[in-house]
């Protein structure tokens, strides 16, 4: 019995050796495998030949809409519009075949074709997006209809669609920002609430300059605004309806001052700071029932609360450790956990709509920064640095941070800036006069 076993073993060994000898030949016939771990970071070039005017009287709308779409995309820093002078082929009609080779030749990676028609005050905008190198359409064509007054919003919506299809993330162009509009000298500055499109267009004032207003905050649905008003001589939280501009004071827990309000994630309650007897704590008040509850109870100052997108946690600033730092606790209160440990002081934290980051203001060595960190305090990155940067607010998709920047000196003024979460594309948001305390609202329906 031992002889066959050993012989079989020898046979198996021989087979393995033979197979091994043949392996290199077989391996070379497989696919060529490579790994690419370094790429480039540059704006994606796109071509947006003017939208086709399909009806008489729609030419201006077509040109304006194409311009706004291009500005929206290029304004993100992620896209770059190709100069129309370099186009090889004419854009042709909306339904014409696309000569992809001509667009590839000018390195256009995306092509936007659109058409506009106007009929009796009704505006219809349609568009198609092409992946030039794939030689096909990216998504399906889309048509939007509205009034001619809303042409700008329709352009923003087209840009949002293009942005979303290319980046895989929702856009933020069809959104608005509420802020404190400032005018006059520093020692007699007039402040009033204002609302505008994210790009500074369609500015409207919500309050007059009769009293000081601070810290406006959009509701999750974008139809209401909370803000702090000094109309009564003391800071009080007010609720303003954006459509009717009607406002009322929020009945909160009794206290000397209520300020720094922010909506809960569902918009049904408001969390804020209440100062009483020299101590400031966080409270929550249900907007429907008026019931209030105390969230913190410490001899230190707790303020600037911001809820996580799921409403389960609150990030806020506190000086309980001796310096101003960021803390996170349960939405119903409880023991807070400190998350900021770097040098300097941290304040005005805001939870990202994505839920993965927290934006904050940092003061260190006489400079102010806008920064972001993970919700556990890790991976802190400073996006800006200046004499005074403060009050960050997130775009609806969590990709851009807007904040107020004040210049130095007696004639210094505050203006709004935005920066990509990567730290790139820092740019000023156009506002008439000074502006501070921005709050970026959600995408409009």
């Amino acid at each position: 019995m031992t002889r066959p076993f050993s012989t079989y073993f020898a046979a198996l060994l021989a087979a393995v050796l033979v197979a091994g000898a043949a392996t290199p030949v077989l391996a070379q016939s497989g696919p060529l495998r490579i790994t690419i771990d370094q790429g480039i970071m540059e704006p994606l070039p796109f071509a947006a030949p003017g939208f086709q005017a399909e009806t008489t009287g729609s030419e201006q709308f077509a040109a304006d809409i194409a311009r706004v779409v291009a500005e929206d995309l290029a304004g993100t820093g992620l896209f770059r519009q190709i100069d129309p002078a370099s186009f090889i082929s004419a854009p042709g009609g909306f339904g014409d075949q696309v000569a992809f080779a001509d667009w590839r030749a000018i390195n256009a990676q995306a092509l936007i074709k659109g058409a506009v028609s106007v009929s009796g005050g009704q505006l219809v905008v349609k568009f198609r997006l092409y992946d030039v190198f794939a030689g096909g359409e990216l998504g399906e064509g889309m048509q939007l209809a509205g009034t001619t007054d809303g042409w700008r919003r329709m352009a923003h919506k087209v840009a949002d669609q293009v942005y979303s299809r290319i980046t895989g993330e929702s856009g933020y162009f069809d959104s608005r920002v509420v802020f404190v509009s400032e005018s006059g000298p520093k020692d007699n500055r007039q402040k009033r609430l204002a609302i505008m499109d994210y790009d500074g267009a369609n500015l409207q004032y919500l309050t007059d300059s009769g009293s000081i207003v601070l810290a406006p905050r959009f509701s999750p649905s974008g139809d209401r605004v909370l803000y702090t008003s000094y109309e009564s001589g003391f800071p009080r939280i007010n609720l303003l309806d954006v459509a009717t501009v009607g406002r009322r004071e929020i009945q909160t827990q009794a206290g000397e001052m209520t300020f720094s309000p922010r909506f809960s994630h569902d918009g049904r309650s408001v969390i804020y700071s209440l100062s009483n007897g020299g101590n400031t704590d966080l409270y929550r008040t249900d907007l429907g029932t008026g019931q209030s509850s105390q969230l913190t109870n410490a001899p230190s100052i707790e303020t600037a609360p911001s809820l996580s997108p799921d409403g389960s946690q609150i990030v806020f600033e506190s000086d309980r450790s001796g310096t101003q730092q960021l803390y996170i606790m349960s939405a119903n209160g409880g023991e807070p956990r400190r998350i900021s440990f770097g040098d300097g002081r941290y304040g005005t934290p805001v939870w990202s709509p994505r839920g993965d980051l927290i934006a904050f203001t940092k003061q260190n060595q006489g400079r102010f920064h806008i920064g972001v960190m993970r919700t556990d305090g890790s991976e802190e990155r400073l996006l800006t640095a200046s004499f005074l940067d403060e009050g960050p607010t997130w775009s609806p998709n969590g990709r851009v941070v807007m904040f107020a920047r004040e210049t130095q000196g007696a004639s210094g003024a505050s203006t709004l800036y935005s920066v990509d979460v990567s730290g790139r594309n820092l740019k000023q948001v156009p506002t008439p006069g000074g502006a501070s305390d921005p709050s970026w609202g959600p995408l409009q329906p």
Partner: protein, 393 residues
């Protein structure tokens, strides 16, 4: 006070306590009467040591030894040997317990403490019985050990020759509670549970190695078998056609008469198959020499230059693998297929795939510059796009 303590103390402790008390009292009294301690101390040392020496010289050696055993007897009889100190000072002093007890020899003689009891004890050591033979220091009796006897394996049997009665079954807790059986309830028929198999108890009191462990070593080393018969061997070096014939013949179980022949035939078949496959592939498509590192790097760099990564997007968290075919001009043929993705949701994966596809298509231009003579090796390409190093940190 001493009466109260006595029941709780051992006789030895009591004797020690009383002796200490006496010693302390004596010391206190002695010091109290001495108004000039310094000179007294000097003279006392010399005088006392002289007296003590004389007393010790006069005394015989057995005296101290007999006195010492007597000392414990005294407290047992409850008669304090030093009457003077006991009457002098109140015995209420509890300090004896706290004070470190001096050597018992000092308390035996009531005279002054300087009495050096160790001296007589040393003298007393003359008794030759005390020292024990220094056994451990003994050198080996026979340094010239010619043969080192190997420790013989103890033929201990770990298993008793007769089986031991099985132990009573362990109490097992049922998973479900059972109602307690009442007296009236009819006793259910007890079913004898089969006793669990248990190893018999060890017969030996200690674990010893197996006396005769089963050996797996081959008892005999078989000689290599003889070469196979000539008939089965020449199959390998045949031409492919002939090899196929040979391999088709080898499965015949009837041809080899013995196992040896069958094995030899199998070996021959394996050799023939390997030879035929390699020769067949070589003849079908010659892949040529493998691609060099620089050729692969050049291809990688060409795609690198067109892979646009949006570091702030969710797609930057996706590691994506795609596969595609190239024609002999280095241009993509057919679709680019996604064959793997790791990280991110479906939207992010889709965005990452679009970016990868754009990179491949954009940078091909007139075709990737790849060695034409190695087309077989790059006609199909698999690229993994890994943006881990480009994410925001």
């Amino acid at each position: 006070m001493t009466m109260a303590l006595r029941p709780q103390m051992t006789p030895g402790t009591s004797v020690s306590a009383v002796a200490h008390a006496a010693l302390i009292v004596w010391l206190i009294v002695g010091w109290g009467f001495n108004s000039d301690p310094l000179p007294f101390e000097v003279t006392q040392v010399s005088v006392v040591s002289g007296d003590e020496y004389a007393a010790l010289v006069a005394a015989t050696s057995p005296q101290p030894s007999t006195d010492q055993p007597d000392a414990p007897a005294a407290p047992a009889a409850d008669t304090p040997p030093p009457p003077a100190p006991a009457a002098e000072t109140p015995p209420a002093q509890p300090t004896p317990e706290a004070v470190q007890p001096p050597p018992p020899a000092a308390e035996a003689p009531p005279p002054p403490a300087p009495e050096p009891p160790p001296t007589p004890a040393v003298v007393d050591d003359t008794a030759p019985v005390a020292p024990e033979p220094p056994a451990p220091v003994q050198p080996p009796p026979d340094p010239t050990l010619t043969v080192s006897p190997r420790p013989a394996e103890r033929p201990a049997t770990r298993v008793a020759p007769t089986p031991v009665a099985p132990p009573p079954p362990d109490t097992q807790i049922a998973e479900t509670a059972t109602a307690a059986a009442s007296q009236d309830a009819p006793s259910p028929t007890v079913v004898e549970k089969p006793a669990e198999a248990a190893a018999p108890q060890e017969a030996a009191s200690q674990i010893v190695p197996e006396a005769t462990p089963p050996s797996r070593a081959p008892t005999t080393s078989p000689r290599p078998p003889a070469r196979p018969p000539q008939a089965a061997r020449p199959a390998a070096p045949q031409t492919p056609a002939q090899t196929a014939t040979a391999s088709s013949e080898t499965p015949k179980p009837a041809a080899p008469a013995s196992n040896e022949t069958a094995v030899n035939a199998a070996v021959a078949a394996a050799l023939a198959a390997a030879t035929s496959s390699s020769s067949a592939s070589a003849s079908a498509a010659n892949p040529g020499p493998p691609m060099t590192g620089s050729e692969r790097d050049a291809f990688r760099v060409a795609v690198n230059a067109c892979w646009n990564v949006d570091a702030g997007s969710q797609a930057a968290r996706v590691i994506l693998t795609v596969q595609f075919d190239l024609d002999q001009g280095g241009k993509v043929v057919g679709d680019i297929r996604q064959i793997g993705a790791e990280g991110g949701d479906s939207t992010a994966v889709n965005t990452a795939f679009q970016a990868a596809r754009r990179a491949i298509l954009r940078c091909q231009k007139d075709g990737y510059q790849l060695p034409a003579d190695k087309y077989e090796q790059w006609k199909q390409v698999e690229i993994t796009f890994d943006p881990s190093g480009m994410r925001l940190r």
